[in-house]
């Protein structure tokens, strides 16, 4: 059995806003083994980003507040770690790529300065080489080493003329190029886990393909484990081997990509797959999921999908169905599969 990297158990999270308390996560279960390429899919507001960002504890608290469950990374519960332990966890074990490459880099620092800082931070050398100690000979040497590694990394992620471009400022890069820089920073510490939060949503289709290909290459080269958060099933089909589908704050189905794409069990997964329009969709045959996502402030009782579900039964509104094994390596949370 491969090593269990991430184990999220019954994680619940609330957001305290002025409109009340939003129950954003409602008992999420998710496991990631070393070497997995997991696609976490779902629609806006289903809690997929919050779930993923709970692993490196990057969800701002407040307004968020964990109300139950645990998040284990390599066996340890990250919800109980101190700020400094979390910082080490983030710098050494987890890399994160965010959605919007336009705002992901600080506009007033050159790419070189930001990359060097990130690299030094991952070696725990940043504090010793910045601020007052910046001009010590040893610091300058460390910085020079880091700069060389940064150039090598930029070359690896496909930035042409990296040794020249590294001195440029973020606004001189296109969106695709910035995303490459951010990927380079994220993989710099050879992390155990790479979290990619909608990494291509803000990019054109052709650039999206380039970024996707880059991630796939990196996976092969440095044995990355990836958690890809997206609403695009195509990306998951192309990159991932496992998939977890979220709806309104819980994982409703998870399993191997092929199995779930070919034989989805949860009515929501089925609806989602039928709603995708491709060249093969005949005109007028597209089916959406009727209705819209429920309010997180006053979620419906029982299964949160029940009000939109065409196969809903009376017992659906009784209790939230638990995620159960419906076939080997395939879990689903739906009363239809409880027998």
């Amino acid at each position: 059995m491969r090593e269990l990297l991430v184990d999220i158990k019954a994680l619940s999270l609330e957001m305290v806003t002025l409109d009340g308390v939003a129950r954003v996560l409602n008992g999420v279960n998710l496991t990631i083994h070393r070497g997995d390429l997991v696609g976490l899919v779902g629609e806006t507001g289903c809690g997929k980003s919050v779930t993923a960002m709970s692993i490196p504890q990057l969800v701002p608290q407040p307004p968020a507040r964990y109300s139950g469950g645990e998040v284990r990374f390599l066996g340890e519960n990250v919800l109980e770690k101190s700020a400094e332990e979390l910082r080490r966890l983030r710098s050494r074990h987890i890399g994160v790529v965010f959605q919007d490459p336009m705002t992901g880099l600080n506009p007033v620092f050159s790419v070189e300065q930001q990359m060097v800082d990130a690299l030094l931070s991952k070696q725990d050398l940043l504090a010793a080489t910045t601020l007052g100690r910046r001009w010590l000979p040893s610091s300058r040497m460390q910085r020079r080493h880091a700069q060389e590694r940064a150039i090598a990394l930029l070359r690896r992620v496909g930035i042409p003329e990296a040794e020249k471009r590294i001195h440029a400022y973020p606004h001189e890069f296109s969106g695709g190029m910035r995303q490459r820089v951010l990927i380079a920073m994220a993989i710099a510490g050879r992390p155990d886990l790479l979290i990619a939060d909608e990494p291509t949503t803000a990019l054109d289709v052709s650039v999206q393909a380039q970024i996707l290909r880059l991630i796939a290459e990196l996976v092969r080269e440095i044995d990355l484990t990836v958690l890809l958060i997206t609403h695009n099933m195509g990306l998951v089909a192309q990159l991932c081997n496992r998939i977890a589908v979220m709806y309104a704050g819980s994982v409703v189905e998870s399993g191997p990509v092929r199995r779930i794409l070919r034989e989805p069990q949860h009515p929501y997964t089925r609806g989602l797959l039928q709603a995708i329009v491709t060249e093969k969709t005949g005109r007028g045959t597209l089916q959406g999921v009727p209705g819209s996502v429920p309010s997180l402030y006053e979620p419906p009782p029982g299964c949160r999908f029940a009000p939109r579900c065409q196969e809903a039964r009376p017992q659906c509104t009784a209790a939230l169905p638990r995620l159960r094994q419906s076939a080997p390596d395939h879990q689903v949370a739906c009363v239809l599969y409880e027998e």
Binding site: T44, G176, D204, S206, Q274, V277, L286, S292
Partner: protein, 324 residues
């Protein structure tokens, strides 16, 4: 033809007097009752083109011929009348509705402006239009921020339809929406077209949506049309390397259809510089190139099937003076 664009061009003057040809010599024709797709990535000029048609942006040169009349010569007053017939649905349902107006005011406003109805009759029309687009009459007094993205897009559609327009310009109507909601809106658009006999100009970057809704389409690259024709030709025999690359790059939902191994486009349209001569796609083109690619701008020439036109030297070997 309901709408014809002839050599439409828009030049923006950027800072430092640099000229940007956002739309470059675009010609196309849309028959009544058809759905025409305009496909392009960011920076291709597709939104500028959309806004030029009702002259929300003034064209630099070229003609906009609507029902045989050139709109470019119309006065502001005449344009207001034409704008009853040409409506736009905007991409972003979060910014395209005035946050301080209720749904009733938003949907009723066009009728008020053109003095088509008032009082009870206006109310009746608004409520029936809300029903047409699938909203409940009880929601009429709500403000936009209380609705979800899909519902807001329905409000936008209702507002556009209430004047009974002939042409609806849909500027990325579903790109800000979730998949399950996108399907609802696409089907609503199909349904409305059948019932009301509308003509659509659909602007999008999503080839799946184009295939689903459109009869014909044009691909825009850096402001110019590079390929144009009936939808089946474009999807089955894409003849421009850019079209082929776009079709290849859409990640397929079928895990067995591997797209990651194929070579596709290099770089992106922002970091690769086109000097202004030759083919604008040449700096990124994955195809084998001929000398003319960097010297002569390829014309939008017809292929064997005369309705299918492509601007590529490789597709027109004779024009380029070289054999392939």
């Amino acid at each position: 033809m309901l709408l014809e664009l002839r050599n439409l061009t828009k030049v923006f003057v950027a800072r430092g007097r640099r000229q940007v040809r956002a739309v470059d010599d675009v010609s196309l024709a849309i028959p009544e009752g058809a759905t025409f797709g305009l496909v392009g990535e960011s920076g291709s000029g597709k939104s500028t083109l959309a806004r030029m048609i009702p002259r929300l942006i003034e064209p630099t040169s070229g003609e906009i011929v609507y029902q045989g009349q050139n709109l470019c010569h119309f006065s502001e007053k005449q344009m207001r009348a034409v704008r009853q017939e040409i409506q736009i649905v905007f991409q972003n349902p979060f910014s395209s509705l005035n946050p301080r107006m209720t749904v009733r005011q938003l949907v009723g406003e066009p009728l008020q402006i053109h003095r088509k109805a008032s009082g009870a009759s206006l109310d009746r029309q608004v409520l029936s239009m809300l029903e047409t687009v699938g909203l409940q009459p009880e929601q009429a007094n709500r403000l936009p921020h209380e609705f979800s993205g899909g519902q807001r897009q329905r409000i936008g559609i209702a507002r556009a339809l209430i004047l009974h327009p002939k042409l609806l310009i849909l500027d990325e109507p579903t790109s800000a929406l979730d998949v399950s909601v996108q399907a609802q809106v696409l089907n609503l658009l199909l349904d409305l077209q059948q019932r009301l006999g509308l003509t659509y100009l659909l602007i999008t970057h999503d080839l799946g949506v184009v295939h689903y809704l459109c009869d014909r389409a044009a691909l825009l690259y850096l402001g110019a049309v590079v390929e144009q024709g009936p939808i089946n030709w474009i999807f089955q025999r894409p003849s421009h390397p850019y079209t082929r690359a776009l079709l290849d790059d859409v990640p397929s939902v079928d895990p067995d259809q591997r797209m990651l191994e194929r070579v596709s486009l290099e770089a992106d349209s922002f970091s690769v510089h086109w000097g202004g001569t030759g083919c604008r796609f040449a700096p990124r083109c994955p195809a084998r190139q001929v000398a003319a690619c960097t010297t002569v701008e390829p014309p939008l020439g017809a292929l064997a099937e005369s309705e299918h036109r492509v601007a590529c030297h490789l597709a027109h070997p004779l024009l380029a003076g070289e054999s392939v």
